[in-house]
């Protein structure tokens, strides 16, 4: 079936709603990579066996991850006219009891994490579940969730990511239809500009402006690319966005392609994410079947399709020119800019190319549906919208956290994360991956936005927040990142290739307690030089972990060297 009118979309929406609320009990098991790894698949299989054995009228399906990774496997239960209940830490052994309770219109209360009487999917769709189960805490009262604001993760862990109808049911592809059938390119770009959306890959470049530059480039062909390489160790929000709500990304790209006049899009995704690749491929196929990709989308004459290009494990391919080289089948070595990707001669196969991160694309549909004014009210001045962070390391409540930009580190680490794991004291966080820095606990009033993080020597990056506690050796952390960057340096420019290697040698010497004060001074000097003289972002930012630990944890370096 091809969707060519608002009526067609509404018909698909009704079909999706029927799946989400089938008028009989529905059990959805959280099956993103993390849920599967802790036994979600086994829970699913066991539930399937029991339902089949007893011939029960219960719908069993899969969903993505709602982000509370510590509590997985998670299982959602919705019984007609009752709140949706999320069960946590479910094992195969719980399956019989779950089915027994569900058959009686109940849920195993002792396994319940929270209840959801109604859920606002923001895009003009609120799903009413029902009342009851009052002994189970409300979703909004769960400490991990109560300070979060789910805009990007509005559907994750609730809809089936392998079924386009469920995405359409919660308002999906409405934005694409609105754009293609009623807005011109200029209106779309203006809307994105007014929203204040900035690049979620880390650099924070205004998205609308990048779109405008690409659209205005004079060429007979243009490309748009989604950067799904997510190479930062400690960051996995893009993986979850693709595994749990792949159509949101595809819809964002359709809108972008229309605005910039591109007929071909690519998702550059790391090979280490097999499930995300599988779900994206499935989602692309479903979108083609519905005529949302391909020729003559919505019968408007606009044609666009998306292909998948897999990366192969090179951190430097997050750099735009290296990424394009990689797609073209060459080694990922950056070249000086200009030409930029958006320039004629600078992008993929020489054509002007717009490159945005997964989460940037994911922001687009909701901006179109709710308007830039609505979006711009979220977050803080110059830093609008929400951002998804992966809160990991030595923190009590590990998981994916979505908060408005401008939220303090304290709120994220102490309130949402509940501080250190095993009652240890938190010492610092590391944001922005190998390009970021370590921020000590005394500076946790720092707000998480592009400028504030830069001011303290770190960066937003793609959104990894790794928590360190009192047992963490900060010099070892600095060494870890320099070792990483040394291995990932493409080797093209001397400051990065040789400078990082020598920084690593200095750190090794210091950690072996064979270093001197002079070594620390040289390390600082060398770091400054690498920052100032490297060719691309990798080298320019790689010394940040050293520079920040030297600035905030100098005593740990001093304690390792001879006086």
């Amino acid at each position: 079936m091809k969707i060519t009118s608002a009526d067609d979309l509404e018909a698909a929406r009704q079909a999706g709603l029927q799946k989400l609320q089938p008028g009989k009990p529905r059990i959805a098991v959280g099956l993103a990579t993390c849920g599967i790894a802790v036994g979600g698949n086994k829970v699913y299989e066991r539930l399937r066996e029991i339902i089949k054995r007893d011939g029960l009228d219960i719908v069993l399906t899969k969903t993505g991850c709602i982000g509370y990774c510590r509590e997985e496997p998670l299982v959602n239960i919705s019984i007609p006219k009752k709140p949706l209940v999320i069960l946590h830490k479910v094992t195969e052994a719980d399956a019989e009891e779950i089915i027994k309770q569900v058959s009686r219109g109940k849920v195993p209360t002792d396994k319940a994490l929270c209840r959801v009487p109604s859920w606002d999917h923001i895009t003009g769709c609120t799903l009413e579940y029902g009342k009851g189960f009052t002994r189970i805490p409300l979703y909004a009262k769960v400490p991990f969730f109560q300070d979060q604001q789910k805009v990007i993760l509005r559907d994750t862990g609730l809809i089936n990511p392998e079924d386009i109808d469920e995405y359409i049911a919660v308002g999906g592809y409405k934005a694409a239809m609105k754009v293609l059938t009623g807005m011109d390119s200029e209106a779309v770009i203006k809307e994105v500009e007014k929203s204040g959306l900035r690049g979620r890959g880390g650099a924070g470049f205004p998205t609308g402006l990048k779109w405008r530059i690409t659209r205005d480039a004079k060429a007979d062909k243009k490309y748009i690319i989604c950067n799904a390489d997510e190479g930062d160790p400690g960051a996995y929000m893009n993986r979850n966005e693709m595994e749990s709500d792949p159509h949101m990304l595809i819809e964002g790209m359709i809108i972008g392609a229309y605005a910039m006049g591109a007929a071909e899009g690519l998702i550059y995704i790391r090979a280490e994410y097999p499930l995300a690749i599988k779900r994206l491929k499935l989602a692309l196929e479903q979108a083609r079947e519905y005529g949302l990709l391909g020729s003559n989308i919505f019968g408007t004459g606009f044609s666009f399709d998306i292909g998948i290009a897999t990366g192969a494990g090179a951190f430097v391919c997050g750099e735009s020119t290296a990424l394009v080289s990689s797609i073209e089948g060459r080694t990922g070595r950056p070249h000086p800019r200009p030409p930029r990707l958006t320039d004629v001669g600078g992008g993929l196969w020489g054509y002007p190319t717009d490159l945005n991160n997964v989460e940037t694309w994911c922001n687009v549909p909701v901006i179109i549906i709710n308007g830039s004014d609505w979006y711009a009210k979220i977050g803080s001045e110059g830093n609008t919208g929400t951002k998804v962070f992966s809160l990991v390391g030595k923190v009590d409540r590990v998981g994916l956290v979505e908060v408005p930009l401008g939220t303090t580190l304290k709120t994220i680490v102490s309130d949402i994360g509940n501080g250190g794991a095993n009652n240890k004291k938190v010492k610092a966080v590391q944001t922005g991956g190998p390009s970021g820095g370590c921020i000590p606990v005394r500076m946790f009033d720092t707000t998480v936005d592009y400028e504030s993080l830069n001011r303290v020597g770190s960066i937003m990056g793609s959104g990894g927040i790794v928590v360190m506690d009192e047992d963490t050796d900060m010099v070892d952390i600095a060494r870890y990142f320099i070792n990483f960057a040394t291995g990932e340096s493409c080797g093209k420019c001397v400051p990065c290739r040789e400078g990082l290697k020598h920084a690593l040698l200095l750190l090794n010497r210091i950690m072996a307690k064979k270093g001197t004060r002079k070594d620390i001074e040289n390390l600082a000097l060398l770091s400054d030089t690498i920052v100032a003289t490297s060719l691309c972002g990798l080298g320019q930012s790689a010394p940040n972990p050293v520079l920040t630990t030297l600035a905030y944890f100098r005593e740990e370096y001093d304690a390792l060297v001879k006086p």
Partner: protein
Amino acid sequence: MDETTLDAIIARYEAPSGRLLGILGEIQDQEGYIPRETLAMLAEKLDVRLSQLYSLTTFYSYFSLTPVGDHVITVCMGTACHVKGAPGILQALEGMLGIKSDTSEDGKFSITTEDKKFTLEIARCFGACSMAPVLRIDGNLYGYATKEDLPTILAEYGWEP
């Protein structure tokens, strides 16, 4: 890899964008490494220089030129795993398998036991940071790993003390 299998893989990549890395990735996934003969065959079929393919396989860490054992154990060395004890896990595995850290011809960390049963590798990050430290054996992820868990996990793959 036989010619028919390779042809089938190549046929899946009509568009030029992402073609070379996609094909190499599938060979890697199927064989566990990239055999030299396959690389030569591929160069001929696509009419690209063998040296270009060689440079790709050595530049990108996902590819390996060395044959691997029956079971591949990959330890995640991401930041979250690092602070939660991944170096200790790696060391314990080396001890259990009786092998020592080394880098292979292509400069990657990959060691195979003498009986070719196990290969030990490291990865930059699986993106499964919530379950740190994490290891992967033949595509199965094991989260919240401890040194104490290792004998039980490896026993599933035929490891004996």
